[in-house]
Amino acid sequence: MKKFKPFLIAILVLAILTPLGIYLPEKFHAGEAWGEWSPEDLSQEIGYVPQGMEKLSSVYQAPLPDYSAGELNPYLAYILSAVLGILLGGGLIYLIGRIVSRRER
């Protein structure tokens, strides 16, 4: 475990820097990733919301949409989302790893 400490530090530093991922696109007037527009934004381009998309696009509402948290400062919410992602992703795969490799000693 100790051996991987520098990696953990690198990831935590990256987590603090993640707001760049929303600041830079704003600064350079870059929009949504290609093919990931909201139905409303898409309809501005093509003049209508495709019928199937209208039904499917609201099939699920995520609790922290686009790594935001309600009224919370978006940069802070982004960092907290990063930390949550690290804990959930790292934690779950760690558990899965422990469970499936249990038989080894």
């Binding site: 991922g21 929009g31 093919g35 495709p50 499917l56 699920y60 690290i86």
Partner: protein, 227 residues
């Protein structure tokens, strides 16, 4: 590359669930057989890395945004099966918690990012590295090139899935039901931005990380040891 809900029609997203499901099952099984407990912390860190690196949206000024995926680096460190499972898990969290990528499109997103990218990285990296040692100067370069090509293959797969939607689903008067853009738009759009911008981001991140990991402990680069 995170296709949202509503861009793929039912038959497409169901087929893509079918295409990705075997990889979830086999990767878990491979992990059970080959994962050494010493490698579990590295796998957890790799999963965290994939999550974090995807948050760095890179702008094309006045255009769209995109990001690296990180699955190639994890493939080179831990093999394609572990990287596939780690990336799938990240995509699941992104979809369920952050609404990044759809629930219906989860199978498709797993296929482009957790299947195409790790497995093409694996094939390319093994081809490029051959019998060189993990500490060879060539390893970061080969890793970067593999990651660049793999990201582009993933993006093209997503572009293909989006681009066939108008062919598969439309109203009698020709209006799209799901993604409205045909292959002639989606392939150049997804292809060019990844060839020209996002692929290079992935290349630089992968090569730099491998360069530093080599200096720290080259034996961590499992894929260069023929494992």
């Amino acid at each position: 590359m995170h296709i949202p809900d509503g861009y793929l029609g039912p038959s497409t997203y169901l087929v893509m669930y079918g295409a990705s499901a075997p990889f979830w099952v086999v990767s878990l099984n491979k992990l059970r057989k080959t994962l050494r407990s010493k490698a579990i912390p590295l796998l957890a860190l790799g999963t965290a890395f994939i999550f974090i690196i995807m948050m760095f949206n890179v702008p094309i000024p006045g255009g769209s945004t995109g990001h690296a995926v990180g699955a190639s680096l994890v493939t080179i460190l831990l093999g394609p099966w572990a990287a596939s499972l780690a990336t799938s898990l990240v995509l699941l969290i992104q979809a369920l918690v952050f609404g990044d990528g759809g629930i219906t499109a989860f199978g498709a997103n797993c296929f482009t990012m957790a299947v195409v990218i790790p497995f093409s990285t694996w094939v390319l990296f093994r081809l490029l590295v051959g019998k060189r040692s993990p500490s060879s100067y060539w390893v970061p370069i080969a890793g970067g090139i593999s990651a660049y090509i793999a990201l582009n293959l993933g993006a093209l797969t997503a572009g293909f899935l989006l681009g066939i939607q108008p062919l598969l689903y439309h109203t009698a008067d020709g209006k799209a039901l799901y993604c409205p853009y045909p292959l002639s738009v989606s392939i150049p759009a997804m292809g060019l931005e990844h060839l020209l911008v996002f692929g290079w981001v992935e290349l630089i991140i992968t090569a730099l990380a491998l360069f530093f990991i080599q200096r720290y402990d080259a034996s961590l680069i499992a894929l260069a040891k023929g494992e």
